[in-house]
């Protein structure tokens, strides 16, 4: 199964992913409709994209009292059936990462469904911070990022002394 792997060290918080997701959900560019959220903290210059990881043991899925959450057998996506969702918000309380959102206009919970296997957030990610890859490739990516950080440290001081 592939996942949307996130590399905050490449993210510039340009918000292309948020707009692309919001557009898919709502037909407009209201970021609040997006299932992927990029937190930007200016002081730390930190950009943190947050999106559902489709946990193997997805607590939101198990706990849903309406049985509205299921796993797509093809993509592995944990997805919400809006027609079954009663809007009880148990899944919001269940997700430890805050990756389930409530759609006020429809009164149902919403979350990433991997766009059926071609996630628009990744298609619109111009920094390469998001990748739709196999989970073990994500391990390699992480290693690459850590290795690069160390190499940079070797010949860089940031002139902040």
């Amino acid at each position: 199964m592939r996942i949307v792997a996130v590399d905050p060290d490449s993210c510039v918080a340009c918000r292309n992913c948020e707009y692309a997701c919001a557009f898919r959900q709502s037909g407009d560019f209201d970021r609040r409709a997006s299932h992927i959220r990029v937190n930007f903290y200016a002081e730390e210059r930190a950009c943190v994209p947050l999106t559902c990881m489709h946990c193997d043991d997805a607590w939101c899925l198990e706990v849903c009292p309406a049985a509205a959450i299921s796993r797509d057998p093809e993509t592995g996506a944990v997805q919400i059936d809006a027609a079954r969702c009663a809007g009880c918000k148990m899944c919001l309380l269940a997700c430890p990462f805050g990756n389930v959102h409530f759609d006020r206009t429809q009164g149902v919970s919403g979350k990433c469904d991997l766009c059926g296997g071609d996630p628009m957030c990744v298609r619109s990610c111009i920094s390469g911070a998001l990748r739709y890859i196999e989970a073990d490739e994500a391990v390699d990516l992480r290693r690459e990022v850590l290795d690069a950080s160390l190499r940079r440290l070797l010949h860089l001081d940031k002139g902040e002394k």
Binding site: D7, D9, S10, C11, V12, A13, C14, R15, N16, Y19, A20, F23, G27, D28, F29, D30, R31, F40, A42, E43, R45, C47, V122, R123, S124, C125, I126, S127, G128, A129, E144, V145, D147, A148, R151, R152, H155, L156, D157, K158, G159, E160, K161
Partner: protein, 679 residues
């Protein structure tokens, strides 16, 4: 019945990145646009601007019929009539005032290359040297900075670089897919230095963000030169054999100690040294890229020359991981500078800014505005504008509008009723990039593609068709012998050895020449001396300093208490490009309007909060708009930023059309002295 679906592959031209796209159609109507995964440049990734081309193409406000200004307002007229009338009026003006009183003004929206050259061709065919374009304010100054030093505008080899230095450039918003090359280099351990008064999107990922005061980049560049020279970090062999003027550089750089640079630029001395060390440890794999941020100053070209010199000192020119000189696609030349040079007619601005005309064959648009209003140096009475919106994007919009309104004939080709179109005599419907076929070369990967005419509208002409039909009516049809765009494309391609069919079969592009760094070793650099020119005899002969002498910006040199803030304009936003796309509703949801970016210390001192309206006034004019209070490290105290292109609160109401870079002629738009008042 299910709709008939189809995918057509072509290039996006919502900006000049020209990413490969898959255009999804249902029953012939575009329904979505996604990245072409096979395209070398964007590799399937695509910013949200591209997908909004669907909104643009089918926008309810599109102009699809020629419009003529009458006393009763706009009148729809048939295309043939419009062309007949325009031709008749042009012929009369040519007869009465001379051909040079006719100008052609090409904008960014229509692109470069072939569309630029066909416009140039028309101007000269008509007998006027006055081809005007957005290049009076964009790219040319950067080109000069590098051309004068190294003989060409090089392409940074980002993915192989050990150190990337971006000067006044914000790729995530300006060249979106360039970002993935930068982050890829960082994942391989490259350091990223971003020089920008603002914490731009790319600066968020910088290992060192040097927040220079606006227009002081040259001091930092000289400071880095000084550091590298004293550290013995220069490529001594290269400097000795392939450069001129090194001794003068060493001498002049002495004044730029890290402490002096700190005093001038605001960048801490330790950071200056750290940048130099990062460059030194990566040399020669140092890739520099200069953005538009350095151009709109009175000292722009020399600041850029100083940066270009760093490449020469480090031996990074045309080296893997440094900057590459790319081979040009050897298309046939559409311009008529050989056959019909017209230099004797005095191209507008060529006397005042000789480099601009000499090296780029660009007339100077600000001089053109003066010519319209003052008949100085001679009258300019008619303009054909295509894909340009100078009423919004040129400095001092009030004066630009006054000039445009006073013309004997203003013809504007556009998709929408722009600020410029609104004052035209004739507005002609233009074809969007999805409605024409043209050749595009990507220097980065040295590939060429032909775009596809994916959709069309009855009566909406492509660029070539328009020039062709107008030329025929003016008796200069012989210059436009090709039957249509496709025939033109075929003719252009002839010298390349490639066929149109090959290109059509490969929408991801065809390599036109292998990348061969180091060709200068055989041919020398494309400068008068054949070497990298730290000192330029060419400039000296024209009366300029031979070295890129640093000139402190006016707001620092002669501060004026009446205008205590320095205003940067034109910082890019993700969803907009210059004055384009302000009518796409979903974009307005995300970024609804203009704002003036301000440091929290300044907003506190002024007693204004986020969203409060202020009046910003320069010596040129004033405008009112809401404040956006930034985080303390996002903008320098005392600096402001307003993005251009908004119809309301158009920042060019207050930018200068009377102060220029002496070499490029670029106007002062990014270090404008202003005052701010709470409303």
């Amino acid at each position: 019945m299910p709709p008939e679906t189809e995918i057509q592959q072509t290039l996006c031209r919502m900006c000049d990145d020209r990413c490969g796209i898959d255009v999804h159609l249902e029953d012939g109507r575009i329904v979505d646009i996604l990245g072409n995964k096979a395209h070398l440049w964007n590799r399937g990734r695509l910013c949200v601007k591209a997908r909004a081309a669907v909104d643009m193409v089918y926008h309810a406000d599109r102009i699809l019929t020629p419009l003529k200004r009458t006393d009763e307002g706009w009148q729809q007229i048939p295309l043939e009539q419009a062309l007949d009338e325009i031709a008749a009026r042009l012929a009369a003006i040519r007869e009465e005032r001379g051909a040079r009183s006719i100008g052609v003004w090409k904008g960014e929206a229509i692109g470069f290359g072939q569309q630029e050259n066909i416009a140039r061709r028309f101007a000269h065919a008509v007998g006027s040297p006055n081809y005007l374009s957005n290049d009076s304010m964009c790219y040319a100054a950067r080109y000069f900075g590098f051309k004068l030093v190294a003989g060409a505008w090089p392409v940074p080899d980002l993915e192989n670089a050990g150190c990337i230095v971006l000067w006044g450039a914000n790729p995530p918003y300006a060249h979106p897919n360039m970002t993935q090359y930068i982050t890829a280099a960082r994942r391989k351990g490259a350091t990223l230095v971003v020089v920008d008064p603002r914490l731009s999107a790319i600066a968020r990922r910088a290992d060192i963000h040097a927040a220079v005061r606006p227009g002081t980049d040259g001091a930092l560049a000289w400071g880095l030169i000084h550091q590298l020279v004293t550290a013995g970090a220069c490529d001594a062999d290269f400097v000795e054999h392939h450069t001129v003027g090194f001794a003068k550089v060493v001498d002049y750089a002495k004044a730029f100690t890290a402490e002096a640079v700190q005093a001038e630029t605001g960048v801490p001395a330790a950071a200056v040294r750290a940048i130099a060390r990062a460059m030194q440890s990566a040399a020669p794999r140092v890739a520099a890229y200069v953005g538009n941020g350095l151009e709109h100053h009175e000292n722009g070209v020399n600041n850029i020359r100083a940066i270009a010199m760093l490449d020469g000192l480090l031996g990074a020119l045309d080296r893997a991981g440094g900057t590459f000189f790319k081979a040009e696609l050897p298309l046939r030349d559409l311009t008529l500078y050989e056959d019909v040079p017209l230099k004797h007619l005095g191209p507008l601005g060529a006397g005042r800014f000789p480099v601009l005309y000499d090296l780029r064959r660009e007339c100077h648009t600000m001089t053109a505005i003066e010519a319209i209003l003052q008949d100085d140096p001679y009258p300019l009475r008619a303009l054909i504008v295509t894909g340009a919106n100078p009423a919004s994007t040129n400095p001092n919009s009030t004066r630009v509008l006054e000039a445009l309104k006073s013309l004997d004939l203003l013809v504007v080709r556009d998709l929408f009723m722009s600020e410029t179109a609104a004052v035209a005599d004739y507005v002609l419907p233009a074809a969007s990039f999805l409605e024409r076929t043209e050749l595009h070369a990507h220097a980065k990967h040295q590939i060429v593609s032909v775009t596809r005419k994916v959709v069309s509208w009855p009566g909406v002409q492509g660029e070539y068709e328009f020039w062709h039909d107008l030329a025929a009516r003016l008796g200069i049809g012989d210059y436009f012998p090709w039957e249509d765009e496709t025939a033109l494309n075929r003719w252009l391609l002839e010298p390349t050895g490639l066929t149109l069919e090959e290109l059509e079969a490969h929408p991801e592009g065809v390599e036109y020449s292998p990348s061969l760094p180091g060709r200068w070793k055989d041919t020398g650099f494309d400068t008068p001396s054949g070497k990298v020119e730290f000192a330029s005899q060419y400039l000296k002969d024209l009366g300029y300093d031979e070295l890129p002498v640093y000139q402190s910006p006016a707001y620092r040199r002669e501060p004026d208490a009446a205008y205590p803030f320095v205003l940067i304009t034109g910082a890019r936003k993700l969803l907009y490009l210059h004055s384009r796309f302000r009518n796409i509703p979903r974009f307005l949801t995300a970024i609804p309007g203009p704002e003036v970016e301000m440091h929290p210390d300044d907003s506190e001192a002024l007693g204004v909060a986020d969203g409060d309206t202020v009046r910003v006034t320069s010596r040129i004019g004033s405008l009112e708009l809401p404040v956006k209070v930034m985080a303390p490290n996002e903008i320098l105290p005392g600096s402001l930023q307003i993005t251009h292109g908004w119809r309301d609160a158009n920042v060019n109401l207050i930018t200068h059309d009377d102060r220029f870079d002496p070499i490029s002629g670029f106007p002062l738009m990014k270090s404008v002295e202003v005052r701010v008042e709470r409303m």
